[in-house]
């Protein structure tokens, strides 16, 4: 849409874009900003930390030491050592790589699937919608943890496949939301107008429906990311997630469980890492919702 610069000052027309005003609202929401910065910081140290530790500091990550077992936090080991004398902070950074990869990759993939399936079901309707809705209802009737448990027992996945499994579950709720929104949107007049102008169904879906469901998709992706980290850690705790010695926050806790009487730091730090990350994803998702959909702002 173009505006006549003479009749309307530029800054008003700039202010009126959805994403622009959402971003401005986000900048004023201090809690959401805090959550976003914590997430950014965690991602930063977990991505950059491991290569720095390995290549710059020349620390052998898997080096074990009988003498250094169960050391409490000290100057040398800021948050102590584990049952094999490995530095817990380094393990935490390495574990964070997997846990965060799960969050980012799985939630992005599941959002994409959810958006595609949701728009398809909502827009096309009819038998397609019935079938997809049936699949969604059925899959969401089986507790997610159980589905994951069975999948991991049958296929004993690596970290990459596990991410795919999680993505294969995460789309369900997103698709349900997107489907609902699509059904509302497709009866609106602008869609009718676009159809009258001769837009194909594909173009209607991509150009007219998709941009309008994107905000919901992004909000649910953020919240999903937190939920998937929790799910992955639960799975690891049951011994079915990514297998040691590859550390994840979940399997570090599982290992710590057998030795927690030797020092609470073994249990405390991986758990705090999970909680803080999940919390930040949830808070960030809430903040995004307020920013993108001011009508439903939390009070």
């Amino acid at each position: 849409m173009t505006t006549d610069p003479q009749s309307r000052p530029m800054n008003i027309s700039r202010r009126s874009t959805l994403w622009g005003s959402a971003f401005r609202r986000l900048l004023q929401d201090r809690l959401t900003l805090l959550a976003a910065s914590v997430l950014f910081f965690l991602t930063f140290v977990c991505v950059l930390g491991p290569p720095v530790v390995e290549n710059v500091l020349k620390v052998d990550v898997e080096s074990t030491s009988v003498r250094d077992r169960y050391k409490p936090p000290s100057a040398e080991h800021p948050i102590g050592t584990d049952h094999l004398g490995r530095d817990l902070l380094i393990r935490l950074l390495f574990g964070g790589r997997i846990s965060l990869a799960v969050a980012y990759v799985a939630s992005t993939v599941s959002m994409s699937i959810g958006v595609m399936v949701g728009i398809l079901a909502g827009f096309v309707g009819g038998v397609v919608d019935d079938l997809i809705l049936w699949l969604i209802t059925t899959l969401s009737s089986i507790p997610a943890l159980f589905l994951l448990i069975i999948a991991t027992v049958i296929w004993s996945p690596s970290a990459e496949t596990l991410i795919l499994f999680l993505a294969g579950l995460g789309w369900i709720e997103t698709a349900r939301l997107i489907r609902g929104q699509t059904i509302t949107l497709k009866h609106q007049e602008y869609v009718l107008a676009a159809r009258a102008l001769g837009s194909t169904r594909l173009r209607l879906m991509v150009r007219h429906i998709l941009p309008n469901v994107l905000s919901i998709a992004i909000i649910s992706m953020t919240i999903n990311a937190g939920a998937l980290i929790l799910l992955e850690s639960g799975l690891s705790f049951l011994g079915l997630g990514v297998q040691p010695p590859t550390p994840t926050w979940g399997n570090m806790l599982t290992e710590a469980r057998s030795y927690f009487d030797r020092g609470i730091h073994l249990v405390f730090f991986p758990g705090i890492a999970i909680t803080v990350t999940v919390l930040c994803f949830f808070l960030f998702g809430d903040g995004l919702r307020d920013a993108l959909d001011p009508r439903q702002a939390r009070r």
């Binding site: 059925t138 089986i142 507790p143 069975i150 639960g234 927690f260 949830f282």
Partner: protein, 341 residues
């Protein structure tokens, strides 16, 4: 209402059917059928295992296997020796008649094993539901009534953190604090209420429950309190609340008879999701606290690759879950007079 009830019940049928299809497909995907595990046994000949395969119906086409699994095969003759004519009467009764197969390890009917474990799991889940709902409602209402205060902030903070805590971690921390350090509560396990030796040791029963129930209830408290608070705040913005104030009701009565009663109705719809969280959560909680319920049985079954038992439990839980969602829908319709069908 009755019409709606019947329609809603019928809607659950395709879902239940879908659950059986997915369970069956997963079972088919599982590596190694019971017979192929026997091939390493030198006493089993190739001919013997072929006989066994035919007897168990493992060579039938998948659709036939699914049908037999669902409705049983006791109305057919099985061709055991492979000559084209039936020899033995089938024995399976099928899922629809409650036959979930036999556990590979314990050699007993899966349904029997599940029903043995149900009381323990139900004890945990229902207590958590009760505690979670009551605490969640109370906290949510307090937060709404003291909107904007420090208490409100604290409750909101608690409800966000509560949903972010991994249940097993909370469990471990509670064990470390209350069982290891303070030695107030047992590490885990369950004291059976019906155990004759326990006598009137009610504290013994309760003390084993406090920690697992708190862990399970945590998520429910968090989500319910958040929901109730939002709901109550929304209602407080309605015109009829202003009317109630204008006619001279004091704040307490306005809150009690106008805000609270309306805010609590939609809580019924959260029963479904809460149940889903509980079923998943109980697997982990039972593992943390060595609680002898269904969840712990599943984990043991997984380590033993006992697929019939795993699938049976999953099927059973999914059906319970579907019925729970159904119940919460119906309950909502009964509670809210605005919902008319």
């Amino acid at each position: 209402m009755t019409k709606h009830l019947i329609r809603r019940l019928l809607q659950a049928v395709p879902t239940l059917f879908g659950i059986t299809v997915i369970s069956f497909l997963l079972m088919q995907a599982a590596p190694g059928d019971p017979v192929s595990m026997l091939t390493f046994n030198p006493e089993v000949t190739a001919e013997g295992s072929a006989r066994l395969r035919r007897q168990l119906g493992l060579d039938d086409p998948p659709l036939t296997q699914y049908l037999y699994w669902l409705v049983g095969n006791d109305w057919t003759q099985i061709d055991v020796d492979g000559d084209g004519s039936g020899d033995v009467q089938g024995v399976r009764k099928g899922l629809l008649r409650g036959d979930l197969g036999n556990s590979l390890v314990q050699k007993r009917p899966v349904l029997e094993l599940i029903t043995e474990r149900i009381p323990a799991t139900m004890q945990l889940m229902l207590s958590a539901l009760l505690v979670g709902y009551s605490a969640g409602i109370v906290l949510g209402l307090i937060a709404a009534a003291r909107h904007g205060s420090v208490i409100d902030q604290a409750i909101r903070f608690f409800s966000v953190v509560g949903t972010s805590l991994p249940g097993f971690w909370l469990g471990l921390l509670l064990i470390i604090i209350f069982s290891v350090q303070l030695k107030w509560l047992p590490l885990g396990g369950r004291q059976d209420l019906t155990d004759p030796d326990a006598g009137l040791a009610l504290w013994d029963v309760a003390s084993h429950m406090i920690l697992p129930v708190s862990v399970l209830a945590m998520g429910i408290v968090a989500s319910i309190s958040r929901y109730v608070r939002a709901e109550a705040l929304e209602i407080m913005g309605h015109d009829y609340i202003r009317t109630a104030r204008a006619k001279g009701l004091n704040e307490r009565s306005v809150f009690r008879s106008h805000v609270m009663r309306n805010a609590l109705i939609p809580v019924a719809t959260l029963l479904g999701p809460a149940l889903g969280g509980l079923i998943g959560g109980s697997v982990i909680t039972e593992q943390v606290f060595s609680w002898p319920g269904m969840g712990r049985m599943v984990i043991t079954a997984i380590s033993q690759r006992d697929f019939p038992l795993i699938m049976g439990t999953v099927l059973f839980s999914s059906v319970i879950f579907t019925l729970g969602v159904l119940l919460s829908d119906i309950l909502y319709g009964l509670l809210d007079p605005r919902v008319r069908y």
